[in-house]
């Protein structure tokens, strides 16, 4: 196992991500509101050795009760509207919502009117928009890092 870890140590030095100005942290809760699974796969890799989001104080947490940011992927389906709102209302204040990916931003949505509610901002106030189909892990990381230094909660 040590062999595996030795090589990994140098990988994260190759990612050129901006350092946040101050040493702070954000706890992020992800909710899939109906995505194609592309944003999830890229978000997973944002925690991989190449990017290693945790070292910037960005951690994905298991419960909305521990979260500062609700990171939402996908167009909101009619079945996910209620669970999404429940997760949001379970968060302590101040809280912010980030929409991850073109579907969450309402671009080129595919589906029927019955099955889809639409973009995330039709359901929740969105503070951060991360475009891309899907956004690359470094784009996700850079956008979240910018949010760390943003003081004003909506």
């Amino acid at each position: 196992m040590l062999t595996l870890l030795r090589d990994l140590r140098r990988l994260r030095h190759t990612a050129a991500l901006p350092r946040p100005d101050r040493g702070r942290s954000l706890a992020i809760r992800h909710v899939d509101a109906g995505s194609c699974n592309g944003c999830e796969h890229e978000l997973t890799l944002a925690s991989s050795p190449y990017y290693d989001l945790q070292r910037f104080g960005l951690g994905l947490v298991a419960s909305p009760r521990h979260a500062d940011v609700l990171l939402v992927t996908g167009p909101v389906t009619s079945r996910m509207r209620e669970p999404l709102l429940t997760a949001y209302h379970a968060m302590p204040e101040p809280r912010r919502v980030a929409a991850l990916g073109d579907c969450a931003l309402g671009c080129n949505l595919l589906g029927t009117h019955d099955a889809l509610v639409g973009a995330v901002d039709e359901v929740l106030p969105v503070a951060l928009r991360i475009s891309g189909c899907p956004p690359r892990p470094d784009e996700i990381a850079a956008a979240l890092l910018a949010l760390i230094d943003q003081d004003d909660a909506p």
Partner: protein, 458 residues
Amino acid sequence: MTYRDQIASALAEGFRFAGLYASAGGVVHVALNEPGGALLRESVVAHDGRVPTIVDLTAAAGWDEREAADLYGVTFDGHEPLRPLVEHDLELATWTVGVRGDDAYQVAVGPIHAGVIESGHFRFHVVGDRILHLDARLFYKHRGLERAAEKHTLEEGLAYAQRACAACAVSNSVAYAHACEQILGLRATSELARVRTVLLELERTWSHLNDIAAVCAGVGLAAGNTFFSALTERARRLNEQLTGHRFLFDSIQIGGSRLSVAAASVAAAREELASIAADSKTGWRELLFNASFQDRLPDIGVVTAGDASALGAVGPTARASGLAIDARSNAVGLAYNGLTPVAPRRAAGDVQARLEQRAVELLQTFDVLDTLLDRRIEHSAAEPAGEGRAYGLSLVESPRGATFCAVEQHGGRIERLHLRTGSYANWPVVAHAAAGNLLPDFPLINKSFELCYACADR
């Protein structure tokens, strides 16, 4: 012969169930996969919205019939109880199997899970820590993609098949393109077959690497998880270098391929794949000799060969249970040249076997890619091959198993699009595999299948 008799006799002759779907006007179609690879379609017209069930002939049709009942209002006589699948009825008793007895209780998980995981609900019936039964309620991510594709041109329909799922984007697109090419009376040239095979195997490469990382995460082995995550990242970067997209989006077209890659870039890709292959072998060896990791894997989430066959398991799930089935072995229009399905030495159908299945399949995938990436990739077009027809049926081996696609059209407009992915076929198998195991083992069992919710829900 009646509809049921025809299906019963086909199944007796070794045909496998490939999918069942309803169309407007109450017609139910069943696709059967002949042992030689060809697809056959049997259709029956509903009388008063009713058709006889075939779920007693093949349990694999269970979800298909429930979906057709929910979305097209067809009642399947003899399918009792015909529980809702896509329809999210609020009454718990209508969609769960009743479990009664002392100390039996339910654990509800999801639709939102604790990690970066797609949305879906699992309702476990347990005694103590032991799972008696699992009802999986998916379709939280149902976007109505099949309905939304109707009335669009065949060309426009490709987006609906592709965007059903990022992890199976190429497989779904190729399945859709094959179905459309039958409609248009086209056949892939050897160059087109080569390009599509390369793209399918690139998708399998990142997907299988990701699956090995996921099982490591399920066990809590951070070193294995990060190592295979790093390899997944390299595979996705390679996809971007070759096609301009990390998930190979928009790399498949109907009737041809617009992908063009210079010889030097192809050679560089081949070299990077050889390096990824060497590193994944190193990582795999470390996993094999890590006793605390290996101790967690055997004898949980067992799917026997008999159950896998009866439930219609496909892909790595089926092969890890000892069924030598792989849609690549007799694929038409792809460059597999009679690939032989591989399996681990101990195809016991447990978590260990499904994990090792990924590792042995990766070796085969690296070989296929190494053979095919021997020269530049050029634009190519399909060639005319006789008359077209009103509908097309296809079966393509995705990283998660055989994906069936049906396209019906009139005047160049889609009348019905149906996609039955490898994940869809395997979800009932996950529920079956969970029973009898400990509840804390479920995340690991689930990860050993690593199915998509997106392309099951559509």
